[in-house]
Subunit: 251 residues, 2 copies
């Protein structure tokens, strides 16, 4: 693909669960290229099942892979980006971080955590000319192994005490497919990559805080707009409204 | 206090970081009282500082105390409540889970995670007649040791690279006090306890999903209302709208 598209693509290993690996990967990029323009935080894992039946260690694992990993990767990349006075942090989140759904408790909690972490870090690094974009995909019912690879609860005896609910949880995927059909058909997963590409093509300093890619059209854009409308006056009162945008000189 | 108010108060140890301790505490209550009506998930810790300067282990600690603890306590309490066909889960959250603020990244991420977890578990246990109420306090600038006991970033060398920002982070508390004054004065922390009491006094099945107690009046109620308005039609499409309320027979 890289060859047919004549793209100069270099693949390197990066384990988002290891600080040393994150640092080594960034060091290699900077050593070879002299700079680091963009980081896309895309690693993630799904958990599906009755929340009470997940072990606390499983919830910790969801946080580790889906949220703490973003801090690890950013901590490796930010010193270079801050020195450059420029950079773009992209995150692949989920509409479930905005409209909470049952039957994926640890996943939903970890994605909500990731969104908060990404937005807060975005405020704090904005003064260095570093821009943040959170891509927010809805459910993709095909084209990924997200559902097939989903982790399930460790305590099956608890699941058995939930009557009809586990069966209903199992029917969510086909329900989502029906909703997609009603809204004009499922999106191809390439729509997420396209959204990242679209964000990177925009002029620096003018990228949106979030780009929603949601076949189910759940209305996350409207929630984000109201969120922003409540945040802005509070930030003005706190005297930190400048953190909501890249400074003019750094665009 | 318990004596002067003639309240029959029994204090028992419970370490929210230990599954065994959570289970032992619930077992003791059920052995002595024969039932468990209410759990208030109130334990929490604050972290203040530049997010990039927090070690990944510190973020994991915030998740552990502020969110995973809620799963641990609930996993201990829910088998009894499900058997009873009745119970109330109360959580003490934060407006920062709704309107993200800089300079407390791990805290904000953990509170966002907690809200998501609490709401998802609430849907999944509603059929057992178990009701969930999330109390959402704004910043309390006095009357607690929340700010005095706040954890700070492990990597002070990173903090030093953020120019003026750490000083601005340090001024947030006095800024909040000024906002409180403009909105009619700071609330006493007893307002949070009063909100819990108010929730418990309501008829079963009619408690609100959230009660906001916010001197800064940031508008979280409006965000919650829109959140609910987007959630309801999606849940109807998924065929799970019944999970948004306690069944009539279980009230």
């Amino acid at each position: 693909m890289a060859e047919s598209e004549r793209v100069d693509l270099h693949v390197i290993d990066l384990d988002v669960l290891s600080e040393a690996s994150c640092r080594a990967a960034v060091d290699q990029v900077v050593a070879e290229q002299g700079r680091l323009d963009v980081v896309v935080n895309n690693a993630g894992m799904l958990m599906v099942g009755i929340t009470e039946a997940f072990a606390p260690e499983q919830l910790a694992q969801a946080f580790d892979t889906n949220a703490i990993s973003w801090l690890r990767v950013n901590r490796a990349a930010l010193p270079t980006m801050r020195r450059q006075g420029r950079g773009v942090l992209v995150y692949v989140s989920s509409t479930t971080a905005h409209i909470f759904e049952p039957f994926m408790g640890p996943y939903v909690a970890s994605k909500a955590a990731g969104e908060a972490l990404a937005e807060v870090m975005g405020f704090e690094v904005s003064g260095f000319g570093i821009e943040s974009v959170i891509v927010v995909p809805g459910a993709f019912t095909s084209g990924t192994e997200h559902f097939a690879h989903a982790h399930t609860p460790a305590n099956v005896s608890v699941v058995a005490q939930y009557g009809d609910l586990p069966r209903r949880a199992g029917s969510m995927r086909s329900r989502l497919e029906a909703i997609d059909a009603a809204h004009g058909g499922a999106l191809d997963v390439s729509a997420v990559g396209d959204a990242v590409r679209r964000a990177l093509d925009m002029p620096h300093g003018e990228r949106p805080a979030r780009i929603v890619v949601d076949a189910q059209q759940k209305g996350v854009e409207e929630l984000n707009a109201l969120h922003r409308a409540k945040q802005a006056p509070f930030f003005r009162e706190l005297g930190i409204e400048d953190l909501m945008a890249i400074p003019q000189g750094k665009r």
